[in-house]
């Protein structure tokens, strides 16, 4: 039986891997791509046009730090010309008043600003960038003056989960419409710092209560999206809403991936969009079809009532924890791999001294 393939809704464009911050929880790969292999404005513009023709509606301009690209304004204009809803995912570093105003003229729809902490000392320590917090607060003020719709995006972990109520307050104070509270996901560089970043079970329970209280209280004022920490859940996330079902990721050199971390899976090769049309990569490539649908799932998932809810979870997590991308996500309580994950959590809970961060430099 063949799988029905719908057109993609979203594209995450990693314009560059360059970034002034050095966050320990960075989910980009351990090996970053150099500026010399980054694609030109024209090639990106062609990719945006191909994406729109394929059915993509939403474009997320990301990185690294997308503002590190000198041609960011031209890229936004090209995306809007293609008819895409254009979202900028940024730390704010590299955005000036003049540049934000040019982005407005280019038609940028929405800004997602990352938050490393609610105080300068915490934020600058986590980001590994002195003065970053003050610059970010200034950028947030300019965003508010211009009137861009703003989402604040906070990655939460062991060191800052206690600041969750203050994070929600800050989102309100900055005039954000949405706040994304994303507990750290262990992909890429973040895996290096897993023990230092892993929250405790008590922290997770407190965070869930804080969110459950805040959502109804702030209804109509602030939308709160909460991504709970994977390892403490009973069932896996439907990663990417299902492999090759909804979205795709383009790296700075044009490699098209079914998800952000897919390159950690050995034996899969990924095509580059300047070499192959986006249409054929989405519909026909081996990588996009490898885990599409549910036909590939092992027996334990085939008989599960959650098969069509989470599609066996995250392939990259199965790879990272179990060394087997074909296994059910080890977060799943019903999977044989869960024992391995519980073993890791147990060992981390016994850790007397939490290790220091390894910064991404």
């Amino acid at each position: 039986m063949s799988v029905r393939i719908d057109p993609p809704l979203a594209m995450l464009a990693e314009l560059t891997h360059r970034c002034p911050l050095a966050c320990p929880y960075c989910s980009n790969p351990t090996e970053l791509l150099a500026k010399s292999v980054e694609m030109s404005t024209e090639v990106w513009a062609d990719i945006f046009a191909q994406a729109a023709a394929l059915g993509v509606l939403q474009l997320h301009l990301s990185g690294g730090e997308p503002a590190s690209r000198k041609d960011l304004v031209d890229l936004v204009a090209a995306a809007r010309d293609a008819g895409l809803y254009t979202n900028l995912i940024t730390s704010g570093i590299g955005l000036t008043e003049k540049r934000l105003s040019a982005l407005e003229d280019a038609g940028l729809d929405h800004v997602q600003l990352s938050l490393q902490g609610v105080t300068a000392s915490m934020a600058d320590r986590i980001g590994g960038y002195k003065g970053g917090f003050d610059r970010k607060m200034h950028v947030a003020e300019v965003i508010r003056q211009i009137g861009f719709p703003l989402t604040l995006n906070a990655v939460m972990h062991r060191e800052n989960l206690e600041d969750l109520p203050a994070t929600i307050e800050m989102a309100q104070r900055l005039g954000a419409r949405r706040v994304e509270i994303a507990c750290v996901q262990f992909q890429g560089w973040a895996l290096t710092n897993r023990v230092a970043l892993q929250p405790t079970r008590e922290q997770v329970e407190r965070a869930k209560r804080t969110v459950a209280e805040a959502i109804p209280r702030l209804k109509g004022q602030l939308v709160i999206d909460f991504v709970p920490p994977d390892y403490f859940s009973d069932f896996p996330k439907a990663c990417m809403n299902g492999w090759g079902s909804t979205g795709m990721n383009v790296t700075p050199d044009g490699t098209v991936l079914p998800c952000h971390a897919a390159m950690t899976i050995p034996n899969l090769s990924f095509e580059r969009v300047p070499d192959s049309p986006l249409h054929s990569i989405w519909y026909e490539s081996v990588a996009f079809n490898a885990y599409r649908g549910t036909g590939w799932l092992p027996a334990v998932c085939q008989s599960c009532e959650r098969r069509d809810i989470d599609f066996g979870g995250c392939r990259c997590q199965a790879m990272a924890i179990l060394g087997d991308a074909n296994a059910p996500d080890p977060v799943c309580r019903k999977s044989p791999g869960r024992a391995v994950l519980d073993g890791l959590l147990e060992a981390e809970a016994q850790t007397v001294e939490v290790p220091r961060f390894v910064y991404r430099r």
Binding site: P7, L9, A53, L54, G55, L57, Q58, G83, Y85, N87, D109, H110, Q112, G147, F148, P149, T151, R177, R178, K219, G220, V223, D225
Partner: protein, 93 residues
Amino acid sequence: MIAAQDIAFLPRGVRTHKDKVRSADVLLGPERVLVLDQIGLAILSRLDGVVSVAEISEDLAKTFAAPRDVIEPDVIEYLTDLRDKGLVHVRQD
């Protein structure tokens, strides 16, 4: 809930879009894509930032030849749901 006299509008960053690939009207907002049915589109296309929910309901009642007291609660429910998702903003006149 939104009140009948409230003025609902699509805030900056939320817009309707003709999706040619899927032959559908969609609502685009931050991290959101909603496919609009005929009724949804009829409601949202009337949000001009001036008319109230009551006036929109009246207009829809005429257009679709249906009683307003049936239509208005549905319009309020629809717009309240979108407001809770952050896709519709509301002001009192």
